[in-house]
């Protein structure tokens, strides 16, 4: 697999987690997870609600104390070096944590002061992050007048104010419409290109997990599988290739004799399954003796991946985890 590090000098992983666990009374919310995130990587936690994503993120950002295992973030232990971790991370939570009665600028200034940023650079930095999320013009408006998408963008800007080494995004696009969701992702990708930053995010949207360098699928408090989206999809099965040719019968015969592939007619096209279809297509053009008019390669989706590793679709898992979640919330409240 590819190395994601910037260079050899920063060999230490941005996040490293060993046997991390959290138990609320009877309920094991997170049951011993292990993983490492390299500097500069976009790492995603994918799983249904109640799978333990938020509990894990809360442990990593020192809001919840682990009951087992250990975790290091930005080179510091989340329990022993709590303040050091906090100085090096930025957070964007699932629920908004802005003050609606302050302006965007006031919210950011509050953050800068709370983090003790040098005043001389804080103003320039504020302008930079606000421009990046396209809110510089709206900086003097009360946050209460912002739309959901604008609030989320402002929170991303605020999370970046103090140049964190690791940015945590807990469900950064939940509750937003598809268009806004796409624009948030534009900002995230832009951010990764511009800033020297590692991004750890959780999501339960399959299509968003595709943006990550690597994904850990988490279900019932455990990591089921961890790999790049491509590798995960490849592990599930083959791509589906569909061909339109001038002579479909001949094409099917030729596929069998030259590539040992069983093809059939589906949806009016010559259809077959093959591992890494994109690499196969050039060979096909070179060696198939029938002229090809059109070709399409459909990759397996992460939905297929989730399904094959957990035995249920993410929606089914969500439905069943609602009971789990209720139980969990009750236990959590009792614990207080």
């Amino acid at each position: 697999m590819t190395a994601y590090g910037l260079d050899g000098s920063r060999a230490e992983p941005a996040i490293s987690v060993r046997g991390l666990a959290k138990r609320y009374g009877e309920i094991e919310a997170v049951r011993g997870v292990d993983f490492e995130v390299a500097p500069g990587e976009i790492f995603g936690f994918l799983g249904p609600n109640g799978a333990g994503k938020s509990t894990t993120i809360n442990m990593l950002c020192t809001l919840v104390r682990p009951t087992g295992g250990s975790a290091r973030v930005g080179g510091h232990d989340v329990v022993r070096g709590r303040d050091d971790v906090r100085r090096n991370i930025g957070l964007v939570f699932q629920d908004t944590t802005l003050d609606d009665y302050l302006t965007g600028e006031q919210n950011l200034r509050f953050h800068a002061e709370l983090y003790g940023l040098p005043r001389a650079v804080a103003a320039d930095r504020m302008r930079q992050v606000l421009e990046m999320v396209g809110l510089w013009e709206r900086r003097s408006s009360l946050v209460g007048t912002f739309s959901g998408g604008m609030k989320r963008r402002l929170e991303i800007a605020r999370g970046l104010m103090h140049s964190p080494r690791v940015l945590f995004l807990d469900e950064p696009t939940v509750g937003l419409d598809p268009q806004t969701r796409a624009s948030i992702w534009t900002y995230i990708m832009d951010l990764r290109r511009r800033e020297d930053i590692t991004i750890f995010l959780t999501t339960h949207y399959m299509e968003e997990a595709e943006h990550c360098d690597r994904i850990a699928i988490i279900d019932q408090g455990q990591i089921v599988v961890l790999d790049t989206p491509e590798a995960l999809k490849a592990s599930v099965g083959k791509d589906r290739v569909q061909l339109h040719t001038s002579d479909d019968e001949a094409a099917i015969r030729s596929l069998r004799s030259r590539f040992d592939i069983d093809a059939g007619m589906h949806e009016g096209a010559v259809t077959f399954a093959v591992a890494s279809g994109e690499q196969f297509v050039p060979k096909l053009f070179a060696e198939l003796d029938v002229p090809i008019q059109a070709v399409s390669v459909a990759r397996p989706s992460l939905d297929d991946v989730f399904m094959s590793y957990t035995g249920s679709t993410i929606r089914d898992a969500e439905a069943s985890s609602v009971d789990h979640l209720r139980q969990f919330v009750r236990a959590h409240r009792r614990g207080r």
Binding site: T2, G5, P39, Y101
Partner: protein, 291 residues
């Protein structure tokens, strides 16, 4: 898709978060306090609505009752007598409203923004208490402007003494509220409990009637009420600037006595301060414990 981060744009401004220090904590106290002020200024409705109640007590209740009690006040306007109590009342509501904002911040998530910052929790709690105290004192100052209408002279020393005493009371009340807010997680219960504590405290503080000659059970209750020790110094200050007969002073400005010993003003103020500090300590301890 390897190491696309290696092309970091050179013009990105990088800031460094300094190590935790006293200076950082003081900056945190300051910004938490300033946020309280900004929010107070922008919330005119709150400002006006918290003025309504004291004004009502002073001018409606005070005027109405004075016709009834004209014999009992030895020539002193009942409103003059009630003025210190009404001052206490005006800061009471504002201070507790400020403390309630912690519950509000928790419900609306902003508390989390503060709790994950690399500053000590005590800085946040102290900032909150000072913010509440300043805002409430300001509210009290507005009532202080009305002093003349209640027959209280605008002597500069009197105004300053009253302001100082209001600040102290506001601080202690906010600390009390913040201590409660650390435990109570929703707005409705917070106000239910505060309301339950507030009214008896107010009635038993000597804000509306002199503490002398009360039945012994009532006398005992007024003496264990912390607010009593904040109202009495203010009345003491007001009567010090009034030109009234010895009879009136004896009847209305009785002070607080413990088994016949009149508690000195300094001790009363020290007690209010001490209670405030203890509550602040408890509040800090509670916020340190929360995850």
């Amino acid at each position: 898709m390897t190491a696309s981060t290696s092309t970091t744009t050179p013009d990105v401004i990088r800031v460094r978060v300094p190590e935790r220090s006293l200076r950082q904590d003081l900056r945190a106290v300051n910004i938490v306090l300033r946020r309280e002020l900004i929010r107070f200024w922008s919330d005119r409705t709150r400002m006006i609505s918290s003025l309504a109640q004291p004004v009502l007590f002073l001018f409606v209740l005070g005027t109405g009752l004075s016709s009834l009690m004209s014999g009992g006040t030895a020539g002193v306007d009942l409103r003059t007598f009630m003025f210190p109590g009404v001052l206490a009342m005006s800061v009471m509501f504002t201070a507790l409203f400020s403390a309630a904002s912690i519950v509000w911040d928790r419900e609306f998530g902003f508390l989390r923004e503060m709790l994950v910052a690399p500053v000590s929790r005590s800085a946040i709690v102290v900032g909150k208490c000072l913010g509440g105290a300043v805002v409430a004192t300001f509210q009290g100052a507005v009532i202080l402007v009305l002093a003349g209408l209640a027959g209280v002279p605008y002597a500069p020393t009197l105004m300053l003494v009253l302001l100082g005493e209001l600040l102290l009371l506001s601080f202690t009340l906010t600390a009390f509220g913040v201590m409660m807010a650390a435990r109570i997680k929703n707005m409705q219960s917070f106000f239910a409990i505060v309301q339950m504590a507030l009214m008896p405290m107010f009635f038993l503080s000597g804000a509306l009637f002199p503490l002398s000659g009360l039945p012994s059970w009532l006398g005992a209750l007024t003496r264990i009420n912390p607010l009593t020790y904040a109202v009495d110094p203010m009345r003491e200050a007001v009567f010090g600037h009034l030109d009234v007969g010895a009879d009136a002073a004896r009847m209305l400005n009785t002070g607080v006595t413990w088994f016949g010993w009149r508690v000195p003003t300094a001790l009363e103020l020290a007690m209010v301060a001490a209670i405030g500090v203890v509550m602040l300590g408890i509040a800090i301890a509670q916020f340190r414990r929360t995850e």
